[in-house]
Symmetry: D2
Subunit: 351 residues, 4 copies
């Protein structure tokens, strides 16, 4: 039985409490939030859970085995660092941290302390992503050529992170989960329509040396909600529309291959369009799957699906995208993270 | 009565013949195409029109007043130049030319020769674009903040131009038509999945000093056809879905404005969502409207809607996008075209 | 403060408990259900509410002011009758009763006992129906000519009532709410694909002397879920698609009128198609609106929107539809209910 | 080479001319229409075809082998009768005739004269219907339980036939083509919103002794166009949406079966929902397929897909539906046509 403390009871916190309440082999002991009205709300729905105003009460509680962090992004690092130093297993809301260096430090620390560090990329636990992963791995799509994602709606303008840090983690986590190749660079452009220099519309291209390409279109200012991803292989292609109630994943028996016309030295491309298949998907709640993965990864000492490494890779792309936007869309290379990690001075752990 | 000769009877040519046949105050005299099978086809459907294998027979025919050029892009410049030098009015298929300098030369020449030069950006004559132009001009949308366009499908891989030169002219012409501000730079990324270095997927951002931004997503390798454009103002927003049979343009009474919270120094954004309005659109055939505009611009000596200047601006953005892709997405500034035109050496006209 | 007891904690009961819990000026005291597992579930979620296995414990509790009946249809009459005789206000799930005579008796009894009798036709409290009622009443649609409803899906085959009694009450209640004219007859056809003579597909036409017509298509065996209603006036028409997340009600500025061509003695019909308007709808929870209407109708002695009379009219149409199906689709007249009510022998109250 | 004459050059005639022009082994010699403006139009597009104002010129022309009748319904019988008596093969537009007796007489006559009689039910030649026929015949759907069709739009009010005679022939021909069982009765209801007693909204149920049921919803007064058909088997079900550009036929791996709970004497129904499959369809033009079937059925003396018998069966259902509407929805039995045909007095052939 893993005893859990949850820090943050804002937008996402109640969902985490509800699902860890329903998860196996764990018990939600306490929830911390600075706002008393939220703790009052907690008391009404879950009278058996202790409400605390200070996160320290969770982090330093010797009865707590695992800490779940659902606070604003800029606080993730220091809360997670403290919890790991106290020997707690830690689950962090996406995006994992505000910078790559912070993510690297947390991974290092967790390894040293031998605790589980995991990031809540909930989408990895949906039936749709599970099915797409399986289609890519079984090579049913052939060679994967591109991933194109649009995630736009009239959304809350965040005051601390831009629209890519807010919306793209979902799609980048899916990208990292189903594509094994590591990207080598990103380009990003964007614009802010307020005076705070935080982009509310942004576009991100992720480049790969194999010729695979990924593109993300994110906006808080669309009149319509769109949640659409295309994944194209040379054998088959996928349309993933998360707003479809039942037909979320459509597999198109559509492909193309090219050859060189020796005589005219021209490239000839052959197309094929065929049937469409809409597989029945697992419809169990993704967040519950994530919660169970966290708990069982602790109890069975296994790697979770939504691992810290995957979370770090997401942060790396986000950080590079911010650099690219600041440099007017210039290509930003993604250094090898393993090389990078060597440079972390041990003293950095004290900040 | 304007006598017309049409050069090129491939994919688009028959549509041009049919619509100039139906247009007012003009007469299609001859059609030129190097392929005899196409001329045979012409003869069956339009026995009264002369078929020629050589474009020169049209360009040098003194009875021809106006020449319509519907050939591959790389031939546009030399055919148009010859026709203008022969004193013909000229209509060129989009994109106007393969380079900005060619477009500039044609504009200069047409002015010298006092003939009409026009580009067939057919979309400008659709009821949908007409309505959107009117909504923007009447300021019903408020201040326009962004335009976001997706034009993807499983399309013919062109062997001479990339996917942006093939598909984006439609959307860039709409952009240029309804937005008065001139852009100052572009960023573009893309990828080719063949060996001919011609991108089949590409993304283009067009930057404006006012903070307005435009983005274009073009692909020949999507399993689904998408023709979707969002235009966002701070008062209202438009969703333009060209595949909708009747509800192509939806106007969302959705907007936002921001203010600074003086106390906390934070930006506060207020949203508003409201009714949706779907206007009835003019459904007359766009290509016929274009043909009539060409003829009446000649007979009435007026500026056509789809002017050579607009066509040149489209080519300028396309050319810059190609540069940006070659330079890995680097921002490419759009020089003032008027400044540029000074540099054209008169000798260039002989190439 | 109205003290409430709820009988039945199956499919719908928990929704009723949750909403009466949230409603104003009332308190859910106890819930009765014969199944102990359901009462256990109740205890977990609402530890403050008493669970009882016997409905009598609610009906005869002097502290209870109002009884909510959410049990199988065939039990509605006897439970409601007992509750009314005990002087309780009564809310019954739809459909109100299994027969018209039962509904008439309950109305009579409630009047004698001076208690409120109401039926839970939840849809009357949705923003969509509210808007449609308003459009019809303001005569914006002109003269209403037809209502056509399709409510089909792969649904649970009920073992006590056929598909019309199960699904059509929603649509018939909307019909009765927004159309003032009383129907004079019905025709219905249907089929059963099991051996229990309970139709799983059925079609109902409701006839009106003005020429207005209503039609209902109900099925438990459709592979797709459809919730679509058309309401046609001669000035405008409505498409109500309850599955649309945001655009549930579309108003078409489409109409027609006819005149007689005096010369040729033919009917000429003029059409008009125009803009489409999608109004923003009230999105507050319908069931909470219903609960608040029940409570405020008690405390303010007013008529509720979803009145017993409306519920009775729904049952009258359903009963006639069953007769018509049994008689192979023959037209069944709807007698005036007021005339009918005279025939109820006082002794009937004892059954 | 079959020489063809086409009578009627109104709405459908030009499509017939164009397709017989493109069909194999035949030649369109002449077209008859009383209106000179239509013949003028014909002359422009098909200068090689003779235009005639009188149908007799076709029917009595010894060079004509086959006559195509595309005139108003009430003229079909007499034109077809004359043509058959002249020894011509005959193709009639749907619906075949205005009454069952007329259809029977034509079938009899054609048999006596040994000529081909065929009805143009174009939908039978679409890729969608072909696929559905094949799915039903291969028993992939299991036992077919129902067919439910909606064909509504804002349509031209016909002045001679009601909305069922105008729109339902398409769907009834599909029903007759893919379901082998013969129906035993129909019920129909409808309403007219003009003063000419011609229904503009009507509903038709077709009853079968096996428990299979078919239902048709037709309207000329819907603000939206719907072309939707559901075909349900106990193994799989089909959704056929003719307005979908590419996904017209969707096959749902959805079914149900029932058993009797011996203990409780209740019917238990088991459901199954699964994947959805969207087959690629043959997209060749249906009308050309129909034209080729007519010609090859003549030259090869084979039975066409859209046979006179099928056309007669459609008329039988339509005629019964009109009777049912007039009798307020009463069930109208469909007599065995073979029995019926005995009663035709030979003298009837003279009317």
């Amino acid at each position: 039985m893993i005893n859990i403390g949850i820090i943050g009871y804002g937008y996402w916190g109640p969902n985490l409490v509800r699902n860890f309440f329903a998860a196996k082999d764990c018990c939600v002991r306490c929830v911390a939030d600075a706002r008393s009205d939220r703790l009052e709300q907690l008391g009404k729905v879950f009278p058996g859970i202790t409400g605390l105003q200070d996160a320290d009460g969770i982090i330093r509680d010797p009865e707590i085995d695992a800490v779940v962090i659902a606070t604003p992004v800029f606080t993730h690092f220091s809360l997670a660092k403290e919890a790991i130093l106290q020997g707690k297993h830690v689950l962090i809301e996406k995006p994992m941290t505000s910078s790559l260096i912070e993510a690297e430090i947390l991974l290092n620390l967790a390894e040293q302390k031998n605790v589980l560090l995991m990031v809540d990329h909930t989408f990895l636990y949906t039936g749709a992503v599970e099915k797409m992963k399986q289609l890519v791995e079984s090579r049913e799509l052939g060679n994967i050529k591109y991933l194109d994602s649009t995630r736009i709606n009239l959304g809350l303008f965040q005051s601390d992170v831009n629209v890519l840090w807010d919306l793209a983690p979902h799609d980048i986590s899916i990208l990292n989960y189903i594509i094994n190749e590591r990207p080598y660079s990103v380009n990003a452009t964007g614009v802010t329509h307020t005076h705070n220099a935080i982009e509310n519309i942004a576009y991100l291209t992720v480049n790969y040396s194999s010729g695979f390409i990924a593109h993300f279109n994110c906006s808080w200012t669309s009149p319509v909600k769109v949640r659409m991803m295309l994944i194209g292989g040379d054998q088959k292609m996928i349309l993933y529309n998360d707003l479809e109630p039942t037909e979320k994943v459509k597999i198109y028996d559509t492909g193309y291959h090219h050859k060189t016309d020796e005589e005219k030295k021209r490239i000839l491309v052959d197309y094929r369009t065929g049937d469409i298949h809409v597989p029945k998907l697992n419809t169990s709640e993704a967040l519950l799957g994530m919660a169970n993965d966290f708990i069982s990864s602790i109890t069975e000492s296994k790697d979770p699906r939504s691992s810290a490494q995957l979370g770090l890779n997401v942060v790396q792309i986000l950080e590079a995208s911010s650099k690219s936007i600041k440099q007017n869309g210039r290509e930003v290379k993604l250094e090898s993270v393993n090389a990078h990690i060597q440079h972390i001075d041990q003293t950095v752990l004290s900040f």
